[in-house]
Symmetry: C2
Subunit: 333 residues, 2 copies
């Protein structure tokens, strides 16, 4: 059976393209509050669970040792756009741990923000590993390794303690044991592990509710989530959907995007987590679907919040002359 159409792209009076996918909104006990499509099939969460991967940064004491505040913690959970502020803070964090960008093993790419990329080109420069959208997360890995007295070289490998701790945290939160069949390599070269959407959603619910997880882990997760919510620009960048979706929540909503159409998030006051995946991997659809999911969560609880997220679940599409040609919108259920 195919997943339902979650997002439509229109042109004129017609639907031009359609995105299918699945959504799970779950409480800490695993109770499904809202679901669309198959939420039991394993899905690679990609960068949407960077908060889970950053738990050892706090649990190890490394974050306190190197003076991580909200901006720094948000950057450690980031898929950032490679803007100057992201790059500068990542470089500063590496310095605090006695390292520099040469320690980063994430690879190089031009900033995902095209303005930032062109600005770099305009200066006659080329990107380094600090511009990689994952450099903040990798900086967190490196700080943790240094704080634990571990070798930094090879910290991206599945067998390195840094990755073993991240995997254990994800297994703890999702209740999944990650065998070879659930393993892949992510864009930044670290392992990524697949689990059902409902398990990732439950994992975030556990963190924000403090239920079904150690007090220490819940505190670490809540500190990371609060940091991302306070400083969303550092986990994303200018004009990014994650920033708009968090800001619309006025401190009450956490979301994080991942490649191939994934979003995870949580509403701490309700003890709920959510996870969604667009079948075809489209980020534009995942953003709209996340807004629609949050509108759904708040529909009967807080109409004003629901209305704000309804607004983000629709986007007018204009062409190069600024003419309205269609829209991106959540499909009617």
């Amino acid at each position: 059976m195919s997943n339902p159409i979650l997002v439509e792209v229109t042109r004129g009076s017609r639907v031009e393209s359609r995105h299918r996918g699945s959504v799970a909104v779950v409480d800490a006990a695993g109770g499904i509050v809202h679901a669309l499509g198959d939420v039991a099939a394993p899905v690679f969460p990609r960068s949407a669970i960077k908060v889970m991967q950053a738990l050892p940064l706090i649990e190890s004491g490394a974050a306190d040792r190197y003076g991580f505040g909200d901006k720094e913690l948000s950057l450690a959970c980031a898929s950032h756009s490679g803007e100057e502020g992201h790059v500068a803070l990542a470089a500063d964090l590496l310095r605090r741990a006695g390292l520099d960008e040469r320690a980063l093993e994430c690879g190089c790419h031009w900033p995902s923000d095209s303005s930032a990329a062109r600005a770099l080109a305009r200066q006659g420069r080329t990107p380094g590993p600090l511009h990689n959208n994952c450099s903040g997360k990798h900086t967190g890995f490196l700080c943790t390794a240094v704080a634990m007295g571990e070798a930094t070289a090879g910290y991206i490998g599945a067998e390195h303690p840094v990755q073993a701790r991240a995997k254990a945290a994800m297994e703890d939160l999702t209740g999944t044991s990650f065998g070879e069949d659930l393993s892949g390599i992510d864009g930044c070269s670290i392992p990524t592990y697949a689990a059902p959407l409902q398990s990732f959603a439950q994992g975030f619910a556990k963190l924000v509710s403090g239920t079904g997880v150690s007090a220490e882990r819940a505190a670490a997760g809540q500190r990371l989530i609060a940091a991302c919510v306070a400083e969303p620009w550092y986990m994303a960048g200018t004009g990014r959907a994650c920033v708009a979706l968090i800001e619309a929540g006025a401190g009450r909503v956490f979301v994080k995007t991942g490649a191939e159409g994934v979003f995870c998030g949580a509403v701490p006051e309700l003890g709920l987590g959510f996870a969604l995946k667009i079948d075809d991997g489209a980020g534009r659809a995942a953003e709209i679907s996340t807004a629609a999911t949050l509108a759904q969560i708040f529909r009967d609880r807080d109409p004003e919040m629901a209305s704000r997220y309804d607004g983000l679940a629709q986007k007018t599409l204009k062409n190069w002359n600024g003419m309205v040609v269609g829209e991106l919108r959540a499909a009617k259920a």
Copy 2:
């Protein structure tokens, strides 16, 4: 009923994302030689039918008047990457008709080729309308208007003779009457009209076979298609799928991409046309599906051609460190 999965994206041993869509391979009489999914639903072809839109450029005599050779005709059918060669030739064509870039009404955007965009930024420049991927097509429109003694201002409007001729050519070839419900506005501000995939496929079959269409129109279409096949770089750009797919055909295959996951094409020697659309609009999937469609067309007729297109129907995915992380591949039927 949903369309079938045409393309899979894998990571590790798992399918991470899936693209659904429909494909029609049709002869000039409308006989369906091969089809997947719904090929009767109207679809916006976007830039995949630029050859049809360029027919009046030849039929009006404008192409001969302004010395259009293969490169120029290919550019007039292009969604180019905004590289220097594209921009220079479009500027030259406008000069031949006594115009310059100020006549273009397509709007401006940074070159779609990121290297070309960064090169422009490195020179401290910003893009003009010549960098718009449709500037070649618009140049063809303008040359036709000048040759016909028509006003050039407003040539993008549905009521201008330039657009009326393009619409009439599309109606003739697809056998469709484009009412308001089938109309939209394209990225470059001209009208775009929706018709069934099988009708677009049949239209290309008519052109290459010379059946069911006037001899003059067939000759114009064959001249345009031959030009694109001879000079594919001018209708696309460095590293583009259209170039690879045409070059693999060694002069025997025409293809053209359109936004939102569309491809059209033809195999002149077989008198066949094809059209396909990925439901979710993903170009990466449309490219793979086009290769798979061509492999299918040649499977029993020419194993070597089929094998070349099978090769293009699979793409290894590497991350920023060059590690193989998965693949894009045609789904098994």
